[in-house]
């Protein structure tokens, strides 16, 4: 390396700056054009804002269908981000009959929707329609984030002796007790009038929830992401498709139905009600001891939204004998949707499901 090399490098970067700046701007400005959720699907059932989709597998190998449930914030397209990086596409390719619940975009008229409506109506009926469409007696529920908690609550709901038609339960980065999480610092204080805010807003705007989520790691979310993209553009390693699909998904924030939001904050960040077994939905007790299905729990080591310690109490609460825990490094979303997931985590999930998905 000669003495003038650094100067040559600097001059080269200056010369390329206009082109790189245009490329960078173009990536940011055309993010909305990214195709997200491209795997072909059919609408099976709709009710209010909820839609149940089916991804038909051309080589279905397993009798037990798989119902995917995402959180009440952000969109379920993270399950099917883009071609080659889609969990749905992978599972369909493996021969699973995959269904997905989409909670839609709740608006002010949905302000009355509470967790009881989501679990006792929407999820209950989505399960019913999945079983009818697939012709199966039981299904596998796979939830992610709040969606995982909803699935666990659904399975723990008092049914007066009746059995829930769920054979397996796969729970990805699931919050169970959030009282020690960063969120609790923000919303756990009794002085914060959660019910008043939810009533004023009707449905809590998605942008407000997104802002709060990003505020947990402000420098990383508001600066480092864009700085890294710029560096990627400069050295030619920027992956336009990967960046744009994820950025588009992150920016798509449906509102959180007001009543459900307030209930979620109370049970998760103030009362620890799930752990204490005091959750009641339509006067029916949610008791996680009722969960006796095969259970797979996946936690992420660097998850700041649903930290691993907040998931661990779940293992002491359930009655299942067939329980697996994949404790992996990674973040709340990156663990399952990141570039490494396809090679590492997805095959493990498929293997776990395959062993438990024959009628």
């Amino acid at each position: 390396m000669s003495v003038i090399d650094p100067f040559v490098g600097a001059v080269d970067r200056v010369m390329k700056f206009p082109v790189n700046a245009l490329e960078y701007t173009n990536i940011l400005l055309t993010t909305d054009d990214a195709v997200v959720g491209a795997t072909p699907r059919d609408v099976v059932w709709t009710h209010r804002q909820t839609t149940l989709y089916r991804y038909r597998s051309p080589n279905r190998r397993y009798e037990v269908p798989l119902l995917l449930v995402f959180a009440l914030i952000n969109r379920p397209e993270i399950f099917d981000l883009r071609r080659g990086s889609s969990l749905v596409e992978f599972l369909v390719g493996e021969g699973f009959d995959v269904f997905l619940v989409d909670w839609g975009y709740p608006d002010e008229e949905d302000a009355e929707m509470g967790l009881d409506e989501y679990i006792c109506d929407e999820l209950e009926w989505a399960v019913r329609e999945t079983l009818r469409a697939s012709g199966a007696e039981e299904l596998t529920l796979m939830g992610w984030c709040i969606g995982a908690t909803l699935c666990a609550m659904y399975c723990g709901l008092d049914r007066g002796g009746g059995r829930v038609p769920v054979k397996n339960l796969a729970l990805l980065t699931m919050p169970v007790d959030g009282r020690a999480s960063n969120y609790a610092n923000w919303v756990g204080d009794e002085d914060f009038d959660v019910d008043g805010v939810s009533e004023l807003w009707g449905s809590v705007p998605g942008s407000a929830i997104d802002f709060a989520n990003k505020l947990m790691k402000p420098v990383t979310n508001f600066w480092t992401t864009y700085r890294r993209l710029w560096e990627g553009v400069q050295d030619g390693s920027a992956r336009r498709e990967a960046y744009q699909s994820m950025a588009k998904w992150v920016a798509d924030n449906p509102p959180f139905a007001g009543r459900a939001w307030a209930q979620w904050i109370h049970l998760m960040y103030r009362d620890g009600a799930l752990v204490r077994g005091t959750v009641r939905l339509r006067n029916r007790v949610v008791d996680l001891h009722r969960i006796d299905q095969s259970v797979l729990v996946i936690t992420a080591g660097a998850d700041h939204i649903a930290p691993r310690p907040g998931t661990m109490p779940f293992f002491d609460l359930i009655a299942s004998e067939d329980v697996d825990h994949f404790a992996r490094p990674g973040g709340h979303i990156g663990l399952v949707a990141g570039s490494a997931a396809r090679k590492e985590l997805w095959p493990s999930i498929a293997q776990w499901l395959a062993a438990r998905s024959d009628g």
């Binding site: 008229e109 204080d189 402000p218």
Partner: protein, 120 residues
């Protein structure tokens, strides 16, 4: 030169490393800041005030709009809620119909099975 051949960093790499270290420390400092209860209180108060102001602004605009005898947001929400209630009832009726249809189909199947099994 010998240092560089032994793996020492160039000035540019050193600057970059220093910057990344500074950024990491700043990120950590900000994360500590937002995790303080005082920041949480500030955020909670801001959320309450924003929600109240938004509501007042929307209500004001809506009042003006409705005084012009035009359907306002409140009217649309009320209509949407009525539609939701109708949809809820329809969904429950549909489920009943489907259950009854399944029962009839099962009974018909068992009758047909009995008929084929009965000695001729």
């Amino acid at each position: 030169m010998a240092d560089r051949q032994n793996g020492a960093q160039s000035p540019e790499q050193q600057v970059r490393a220093l910057y990344e270290e500074a950024e990491t420390k700043t990120a950590k400092a900000f994360e500590d800041l937002v995790n303080r209860p005082s920041f949480g209180q500030l955020l909670a108060l801001s959320a309450e005030n924003t929600a109240a102001l938004t509501r007042m602004a929307f209500d004001g605009i809506d009042l003006l709009w409705r005084n012009l005898r035009l359907a306002g947001r409140a009217d649309i929400i009320r209509l949407s809620k009525q539609l939701h209630r109708t949809e809820d009832k329809l969904e429950r009726v549909l489920q009943e119909v489907e259950t009854l249809r399944d029962e009839v189909a099962r009974e018909r199947e068992s009758v047909e099975l009995d008929a084929t099994e009965a000695p001729s």
